[in-house]
């Protein structure tokens, strides 16, 4: 006899942001790799165990060149976790996935030249000093005054306010709450950094998917009576709740 799960437990989906080092290679790659080797030579292990994203925006290269570059970086112990700014045709299963929507956090300082080697020989070689990482300030909120178009993805660690509509095929992801002063036709995911208090508000509900802190509902699970209405969503314990705002 097969057990039929009448109420399947949904998978919890959570977003999380990490700080990654971004490398911006320049053509010709041979010269650029020489400069990289020079940097790595000054500080062994600078790239070790560090997530690195390769930014190839605007580079006129093909897939073979990109794969070659990733291979050469791999040989230098620089492991690429994702590639930004590449044409989809350049990426395949054998290359790291495409990344987008990254935010600049300021330059990471190059390691200074290693202390002189004349140091007493008895001293064990110290691990290279890790570059100082920028300290995180209060989560930034974001106000968008234009419609969010299909294919666009908006992210902020704090609250997101949209003065306009969110199109079908667009998504808004926030660490805090999401306020939409227009029609929500795409996806909205609030509290993705682990905030169960976050809420989603919209003037008119036509959403494809809404989620808070990993709990979500698709359009089919939403009460049909709420469609086209002003609605808010919040979590009550583990229950995803929706209510009319009118």
């Amino acid at each position: 006899m097969t057990a039929v799960l009448t109420k399947p437990r949904p998978i919890r989906l959570k977003g999380r942001s990490y700080l990654a080092l971004t490398l911006t290679p320049e053509l010709p790659f041979e010269d650029w790799l020489v400069r990289l080797d020079d940097l790595a030579g000054r500080s062994a292990g600078f790239f070790l165990r560090r997530p690195v994203v390769l930014d190839v925006e605007g580079l006129e290269i093909d897939r073979a060149q990109l794969r070659d570059l990733v291979g050469k970086l791999g040989a230098r112990n620089v492991r690429i976790m994702g590639i930004e700014g590449a044409r989809p045709s350049m990426l395949g299963n054998d290359l790291p996935p495409a990344m987008s929507g990254g935010k600049t956090t300021g330059d990471i300082e190059e390691p200074a030249a290693e202390p002189a080697r004349e140091a007493p020989v008895t001293e064990t070689v110290a691990e290279a000093p890790a570059a100082p990482l920028p300290t995180r300030t209060a989560p930034a909120s974001l106000v968008v005054t234009q419609p969010v178009r299909s294919g666009q993805s908006i992210f902020a660690e704090g609250d997101v306010t949209i003065v306009g509509s969110v199109a079908s095929g667009a998504e808004v992801i926030a660490g805090g709450s999401i306020h939409i002063y227009g029609t929500l036709r795409g996806r909205a995911m609030a509290g993705t950094l682990g905030n169960a208090e976050a809420r989603i508000f919209c003037r008119k509900l036509e959403a494809e998917l809404v989620g808070i802190d990993g709990y979500y509902k698709t359009a089919e699970d939403l009460e049909p009576g709420l469609r086209g209405k002003p609605v808010q969503f919040w979590l009550e314990g583990e229950t995803f709740t929706a209510g009319s705002l009118a």
Binding site: E60, R87, R149, S150, Q152, A167, S168, G169
Partner: protein, 271 residues
Amino acid sequence: MGKVIVVTSGKGGVGKTTSSAALGAALAQSGDKVVVVDFDVGLRNLDLIMGAERRVVYDLVNVIQGEAKLTQALIRDKRVETLYLLPASQTRDKDNLTSEGVEKVIGALKSHFDWVICDSPAGIERGATLAMRHADIAIVVTNPEVSSVRDSDRIIGLLDSKTLKAENGERMEKHLLLTRYDPARAERGDMLKVDDVLEILSIPLLGIIPESMDVLRASNIGSPVTLADERSAPALAYFDAVRRLKGENLPMTIPGEKRGFFGKIFGRKAA
């Protein structure tokens, strides 16, 4: 300096090439100097619609690769003397379009013509992004159905992020051209209504082109619909769109209908 217009849509088959030819011809008929550039490398059609397929010697890719001069590749229309065509290559790969090459060609065309109309290929790949890259004005061609509207929305997002204007922090001027509109079917609910499309896309409306056999007939004889039959409903709609593009404030109507579009709605309600 002329103005560069990109005619784009995301989705294929909605009427980009037809509209590029019709708008280009209508602008030229008003006395302006116009060039229509086909960016659909590998699947060119504009030469057919404009009836110049037997006169293509050099094309856009030849010019970009330095194999021909711009003046050699430009084809002057036989009916309107201020109308020119720069055809796309049918045999080359679209990877031959380089960003610098396109910039150079568009720059040269801008200094010679009042209007440079770039007929974008469908999709959001290289050809489409290069066609929109140097534009001052975008005309987004949309059919009143959901997949076309969503694709147009995607394209508007790209217009606001991937064009030179957007990268310089300026706002791209965008207009919606609603094509293949059938008021009777919209009224029955088989098609999206004008207001629904405008609500979703939220950009100003340039014109409503009615669904018409005249468009197909014009294509088959190799003539922009504004040249083939100046009195036909779609031609009148394109002429109105061009007047709006030039800054005139005209009431929105669907030519060929007995009453104006809004009059029709109110007329029905009253009945």
